[in-house]
Subunit: 516 residues, 2 copies
Amino acid sequence: MSEAEGNAGRRARGGGGAARRAARTNVGIETARYITRNIPDFEILNAEALELIEANAETVLAEIGVNFVDNPGALARWREAGAEIEGERVRIPRGLARKLCATAPARFVQHARNPERNVEIGGRNLVLAPVYGPPFVRDIDGGRRYATMEDFRRFVQLGQMSKWMHHSGGTVCEPTDVPVNKRHLDMIHAHMTLSDKPFMGSVTEPSRARDSVAMCELLFGKDFVAENTVMTSLVNINSPLTFDATMMGALEVYAAANQACIVSPFIVGGAMAPVTVAGTLTQVLAEVLAGVAYSQLVRPGAPVIFGAFVTSIDMNSGAPTFGTPEASQILYGAGQLARRLGLPFRSGGALCGSKLPDAQAAYETAATLNAALLGGVNFMLHAAGWLEGGLVASYEKYVMDADQLGALHRMAAGIATDPAAQAMDALREVGPGGHFLGCAHTQAHFRDAFWRTDLLDYKPFETWDEEGARDTATLAADRVTRLLARYEAPPLDPARREAVEDYVARRKADMPDAFV
Amino acid sequence: MSEAEGNAGRRARGGGGAARRAARTNVGIETARYITRNIPDFEILNAEALELIEANAETVLAEIGVNFVDNPGALARWREAGAEIEGERVRIPRGLARKLCATAPARFVQHARNPERNVEIGGRNLVLAPVYGPPFVRDIDGGRRYATMEDFRRFVQLGQMSKWMHHSGGTVCEPTDVPVNKRHLDMIHAHMTLSDKPFMGSVTEPSRARDSVAMCELLFGKDFVAENTVMTSLVNINSPLTFDATMMGALEVYAAANQACIVSPFIVGGAMAPVTVAGTLTQVLAEVLAGVAYSQLVRPGAPVIFGAFVTSIDMNSGAPTFGTPEASQILYGAGQLARRLGLPFRSGGALCGSKLPDAQAAYETAATLNAALLGGVNFMLHAAGWLEGGLVASYEKYVMDADQLGALHRMAAGIATDPAAQAMDALREVGPGGHFLGCAHTQAHFRDAFWRTDLLDYKPFETWDEEGARDTATLAADRVTRLLARYEAPPLDPARREAVEDYVARRKADMPDAFV
């Protein structure tokens, strides 16, 4: 590990003070550009199967329909668009939802306050964002405990320090020590001040979505926000086939402000969807068609992402499971459906059910990360730090996963075939029985030839044993400590910071604390 | 875990004594059929890139050539076939090696002494075999130590007990307590008597390959062996571009006896091949073309497998690395080259560099297993138990990996789209806001709906915590103990057993012990 980081330090560019400090302390502060895939997608379903699922999804929308709960405005919009309304049930004639989805952009730029951190979501791109939502945190010393605002800030700092993380995320953990009705203010403030990467807005109440937009107007400028997407927020569907007023209220705020939403079924297969992959894909497509169509009824052209957070249930314990073959199959199939619909696709993540950052966690996580890369995911939430079915944000797993994300970058770059990559000179120079380490081609190319871990152990057994025979989690704990010790907040215009902080203080003063 | 295995027990078929015992003790004894893929292959290279690599490989063979060391017979065969010989260098005119490869079968059956365990290697099939070659073993109690014959037997027993393992393998660990010149006799005896799955022969000297054939003739009958493939053995190429007399001598014995060989470059990229993926693929193809062509010079039609064991070097420590993106890219590309050549493909495995069965081991292993499945591997050696770059066979990792192999089976089955899989009845029955657990479709299908682990933990946090907060390696150690306690040798005709044992005793008496 020290060798690898030593090299990362030596590779640091641009001889400023930050680069020199990075070199001295062996912790990098670069951020990689988001991934643009130069490899094909893995297409698990043939055209016939895709058409069948699409036809079935239209049948679901037309004959079963979806519920928009406690939302007369939504029912009115749907009625006007041509749907059949019965109570809260919305039945959408065949083809209507798909037609409405056509105004959603195939790709869009989400701006960061540092323009170098802007991301383009859609197309061949893959943007990585950290874990979202855990009420608990875990670290190697303290074990599992409720998350606090201090944990939240540390996870945002880790994201800022992580080279392969493109996005600061949203609720990286639930700051349970802050009143429920004020958390969003502190969380967005943390993303705005501790990171210069793009971030997500609040969705837990329409008023909190409005706060998110207002804070962005102070950070980016009102005109800028009116014309650009500066937030991508997570709008879950209450599967099966139900759109609740809270989430739809947030979506309405964001769509109206031209801010992006992920419209995402949240499905534990067998509980919130059928036990079959094809049946689940049908439901996912029906739900996304309805949700995305609704966003376009609110504002045609509003940026939106086809989401699919799907796992399956353990039929013995009832627990959700992660990294299973069925989850990968659904991810691959959903990606195909999203591409046929011309929408950016969200799925995947460092998902696992394990309680510890152990082998189970890594098997499950690697299965999901790999499927997400090959399945054409454009926005990957939970790309690092997820543990215990999303109940826990793990410090050690965050840096373990973040290291694996570097491997995804390299895999996505594909295989070069230019003359240097063909290496015929090397083959001629070395010949049968020779050794490539010293040849001219190797000397010219070895620095960038292979992906390098910043974490994993490649030392000789004896060295590793003498150094304490540390496992991955122990190495990761050490890296967490060093990354946080090295953290420096990115510069921020003091006037904008002050405006954001005034807003937070004023809004907090306006409301009594609420803890439920 | 106990729940999952309880269910496995309840699923046990055929009310015999073994099934009842299995149900009582919660350890299954089924063996799954080898995998037949119902999913496409992941094609990372386009046709232009493949043609370029193929043309470059022909250039390597024609202009650089390969060395057949200490092997005048091989040089004579090549000369007669039309190659240009200069010393030990064999330059193969463009197209000749590919033409010679055309007589090798695209698929073949390897017979086991229990015909239910026969495997077909090639086509859409994937056959899984355990770790091969480690001089050390590791378990959670004893740590890392030299392997013994007793370890060897235990690993064969684990393979026999592992539902998802189709093949008993070869040198599952090196029995370092047995003289080098007699090990192969005890190893093959162990495979023949402790397992009824197919196995591999010795390659460490031509005389040991002959012993392997002779023992098979005693086990299967001489006529049967003359007409059928009963061994698949591992012939490594000394990359770059060198074929040594030991390995080629073993190949000559096996090919002449119509027994299968894996012709496999063993490459640590950057050391034994160029630092680029395209350059390495060129070398792999050139080496396999020469090796397979040679097998067909020995006996046209001899079964042979296109092997690619390729990893890359850590440029800091010089250590080989596993589960890297470059290794996956090479695997995907080599699979395409093998399919274009019409040969069965060997690559992949539970490869990792970690010293412990920890998260690093699992990240690296999962990356490789996944690439092997999607990359079209037909024969996967090292599919379970590999640790520390292949220096160590790990008991715990064996059962951890073997559990993951079950997930590969499910993933490979693809996505069903029959009416039951479409689940439209379930969607209609449940409707918006409902719950699928109780619906008729779920009740009819939940038992086989999802892959089930026999190892991983899905329990509620509190239960898991009360039971000792065990990590995956600890759970695996428990499973190893239970599997070995339940082991029963499969029945074997006493006359055949006696014939094999007489042969072993006679051959041992013929030779003084040798430890180098």
